[in-house]
Amino acid sequence: MNDEVLKMSSVVKRFAQHEVLRDVSLTLHRHEVVCLIGASGSGKSTLLRCANLLETIDGGDIELFGQSLLDPRVDPDLVRRHMGTVFQSFNLFPHLSVLENIALGPVRALKRPADEVREEAMTLLARIGLQDRASEFPDRLSGGQQQRVAIVRSLAMRPSLLLLDEVTSALDPTLVGEVLDLLTDLAKSGTTMLIATHEMNFARDVSHQVAFLDNGVLIEKGPPDQVFERPRHDATRVFLGRVR
C-alpha cells in the first residue's frame, strides 16, 4: 500500500471533442518498471504528459505518494522535480554544454550549490562513459549519446520516478542498443520507471508490468509473460501480431 509512487485513477483527457484517454487507471510502485505499449496515437505520450502535469486532465485523479495532484495548492514545478521526463527528441539545451545541461535543473530549480552539482554530474557522465565530453555542446554528440545525456540530466534531479516517452524512436537503429542498455541498468538498480515504448523485446525483458493502450483505453495490464504470451484480449493479440 505504502509503496505506491504514482497512481492514476480513471484519468480522462480530451482534446476538443476527441477523447484521448478514457478512464485510464494505472499504478506505479516503488522500484517497479511499467512499460506502456500501443500504436502511435493510442495515448501513451499523453498519459505521460498528464502524469507530470504538462497536460491538465478532464477527469479522474493522479496521486503522487498518496497526495492528489489536482489539489489547487499543488505547485506543478515542485511535482515535476520528483519526476524525471525524457523525450523522444532528447530536447537537450543546445546553448549549454553537456555538463551545464545536467547541472541546470539541480542548480536553478533545486538551488543546490553549483560545485557539488558539477561533481555529481561528472559522476553521472562517467557512468555513461561520456565524462570526457562534458564541456562539449550537445550537437557534437551522436543521437544515442545525446539521449543518454538526456536520461542522466533527469537523473541529476534525483527523481522518485522516471517518465520515458519513446526515447529510442528518433534514433538510428545502431544507436538504440546503448540507450536501452542504460535503461536496463537503471531498472536493475531499482529505478521506478514508466516507459512508453515500441521496443517489444526490451519491454518484455525489463518490465514488471506491461500495459497495452488502444485508442485511449487501457485494454490490458499484467506481467510481460502474460501480456506477450497469453494476451487476454483480441486487440492485444492483433497489435502484437502486427509489431512482430
Binding site: 504538462l54 506543478p76 514545478d77 515542485l78 519526476m83 527528441s89 539545451f93 541546470l104 534531479m157
Partner: protein
C-alpha cells in the same frame, strides 16, 4: 533488361563542353569576368562625372575640397558648426538609445509572451504600445514628444534639452520595433525546449531566463543590428526639434556657403559610422548560414 530502363543511357557520349563565350563567365575565368564588369561600371560613373555637361558643376557643388575642409572644421565667424563636431552628438544619442532600446524592447517582448495572470493588464498595454509606436511616423513622434513633454509640466521630465526629448522619441519608436524582433526570436525557440525545462521543475521565469532567452538572442542578433543601423541614421531626425547634430550643421553650412560639400561630408561621416556595422551584420548572417548548412550535412 527492358528497353524502358535502357532509355536513360544515350547512344553517343553526351556533350559536356560549353561554348567559349559562355566559359568567359564561369569557373577559372571568373576573376577576369569580374574585373571586366567592375572596370565597365567605374567607367560609366566616371563618364557621368567628367564627360557630361553637368558633371563639372556637380563636382564643384558636392566635392569641392575647400568646402569639404570647412565642413570638417566649421567656421565660428560665420556661425557654421563643424560637421565632425556634430556627429559626436549623433554618436552619443545613438549609443544611449541603443542601450535603452535593447532593454525596453526586451521588457515589452517578455511581457507580451509571458502568460502569468498577474501580467495580463501589462500584456494588453505592451500590445497597444507596440501597435501605436509602429504605426505613427517617427517625424510625428518626435514633434509630439519634443513639444508635448515640456508642456506637461512634469517636473524634471518637462525640463530637458531637445536632445533628451530626441532620445526619448527614438527610444519609444525603436523599442516598439525591437520588441517585435525579440518576440519573433522568443517564439522561434522549439517548444520541446520549454517542455524539457519545465519538466526539470524550472519555473516559467527560470525557463525564460536560462533556456528560451539565451537561444532567442542568438537568432535575433542580425535583425537587431539591422534596426540599429537605421537607428544610427535616424539620429539625424532629432534636428527637427532644434538639436544641431551633423546633418543640421551640414545644412547650415550649405545655406551659408551655397555649397553642398557640407552635405557630402556629413554623409561620409554617417557612412564611416554605419558601414562597419553593416559589414559586421552581414558577416554574422553569413556565419550563421554557414553553420546552418554545416548542420544540415
Amino acid at each position: 533488361m527492358s528497353s524502358e530502363t535502357d532509355a536513360a543511357v544515350p547512344d553517343a557520349p553526351p556533350r559536356l563542353f560549353a561554348p567559349r563565350r559562355r566559359l568567359l563567365f564561369k569557373g577559372r575565368n571568373g576573376l577576369a569576368a569580374s574585373l571586366a564588369s567592375s572596370a565597365a561600371l567605374v567607367a560609366v560613373i566616371l563618364a557621368i562625372l567628367f564627360a557630361t555637361s553637368g558633371g563639372q558643376s556637380f563636382r564643384f557643388y558636392f566635392f569641392n575640397p575647400h568646402f569639404l575642409w570647412i565642413a570638417l572644421r566649421g567656421n565660428p565667424l560665420k556661425a557654421v558648426g563643424s560637421v565632425l563636431g556634430g556627429i559626436v552628438t549623433n554618436i552619443w544619442i545613438f549609443l544611449l538609445c541603443e542601450v535603452l532600446v535593447l532593454l525596453f524592447g526586451l521588457i515589452i517582448a517578455w511581457v507580451r509572451v509571458t502568460t502569468t495572470p498577474l501580467l495580463v493588464p501589462f500584456r494588453l498595454l505592451a500590445t497597444v504600445y507596440a501597435d501605436i509606436f509602429r504605426g505613427i511616423p517617427f517625424v510625428l513622434v518626435i514633434y509630439i514628444v519634443g513639444y508635448g513633454l515640456p508642456q506637461l509640466s512634469l517636473g524634471a521630465l518637462s525640463n530637458q534639452s531637445p536632445a533628451v526629448y530626441g532620445c526619448i522619441a527614438l527610444t519609444l519608436t525603436y523599442s516598439a520595433y525591437v520588441s517585435e524582433v525579440y518576440r519573433a526570436g522568443l517564439h522561434s525557440v522549439p517548444h520541446g525546449q520549454i517542455l524539457a525545462a519545465r519538466s526539470l521543475g524550472l519555473t516559467q521565469y527560470a525557463t525564460m531566463r536560462r533556456v528560451v532567452l539565451p537561444q532567442a538572442v542568438r537568432t535575433v542578433i542580425p535583425p537587431l543590428l539591422n534596426d540599429f543601423i537605421s537607428l544610427q541614421k535616424d539620429t539625424a531626425l532629432v534636428s527637427l526639434i532644434g538639436v544641431v547634430e551633423t546633418s543640421r550643421a551640414a545644412q547650415i553650412g550649405q545655406e551659408t556657403y551655397f555649397n553642398g560639400s557640407f552635405l557630402t561630408m556629413s554623409a561620409l561621416l554617417f557612412l564611416a559610422m554605419t558601414i562597419p556595422m553593416t559589414r559586421f551584420t552581414d558577416h554574422l548572417i553569413d556565419k550563421d548560414r554557414e553553420k546552418r548548412l554545416a548542420g544540415a550535412q
